[in-house]
């Protein structure tokens, strides 16, 4: 079973500071910092992607076991979703 597709929240604006990302959820008015892996994941989400697609890419970049990667990224996506930075693409949508 594949995981849901994630995309950047439409309520989020961001800017790059070197290799880091600072994002702001407009509705909440709070700024969030993303470094290292979380910044890489954010950059991967220029297009909607599911957990498998994200982890496949991360495994190419980082020295990490697939199972550990999935576990960590699963938690990261929950955190990002809770902060309103990403959202799940509704099933049947064109993912735009």
């Amino acid at each position: 079973m594949t995981s849901p597709m994630y995309k950047r929240s439409t309520d989020t604006m961001f800017c790059e500071v070197g290799s880091d990302i600072i994002a702001l959820n407009v509705d909440r008015g709070r700024c969030y910092g993303m470094e290292n892996v979380s910044a890489t994941v954010w950059n991967l989400l220029t297009e909607p992607a599911n957990l498998e697609q994200i982890c496949d890419r991360l495994i190419q970049i980082y020295d990490v076991e697939p199972q550990a990667c999935r576990s960590e990224i699963e938690q990261l996506m929950v955190n990002m979703q809770n902060e309103g930075l990403v959202e799940i693409v509704p099933t049947g949508s064109d993912a735009s």
Partner: protein
Amino acid sequence: MPVTADPNKTSTPGAVSNTSLGSALCTECGLCCTGAIHDSAALDSDEIEAAKALGLPVRDNEKPTFALPCPHLKGTMCSIYGSRPRACHRYKCQLLMDLEADDIDFDDALGKVVTAKALRRQAEMVMPEGMTLPQGRALAIALPSAPAGAADSAGRRSEMQLKLHTTALNLYLDKHFRNARDRKAFELNLVGHGKTGTEME
């Protein structure tokens, strides 16, 4: 601490002292005079009249200061270098101190100046016309987190653009340019995926 241009010097440092490298860095930067790093600069009590005569925006309080940006900053250069206030002469940002202490090399320091100036431009682009960097900073800090009106209103988005880019600029300046005692009150919530966020490094 911007310096005046010396036509006999090249902007590319060779095998020179750290002080000369510092001057070269300041010549490329000038951010301390723009109001990006500080809201104001201190004046000694015996400098107040001279500062007024120079046209500096003096605040003649118990602790006299003049407001930044300095009207005598031309590009990245000081146009009153020979008669500038003592605070300008004394001032060294953290990046300059790091360079002079050999804690960072010149190219890395210059790279941080380039990044800071790019962040400054981004912040200025979303600030209302005529607003100074200290004013933008004060406004960004004062902006409430919760929306006053509809979250998707154009006004709300403009305010949040200001908050985002001003926060990015100031966090970068806090990290590389400001001394510990001068850091600003910008809040950032780190988003990680584990205890440290670096397990996969």
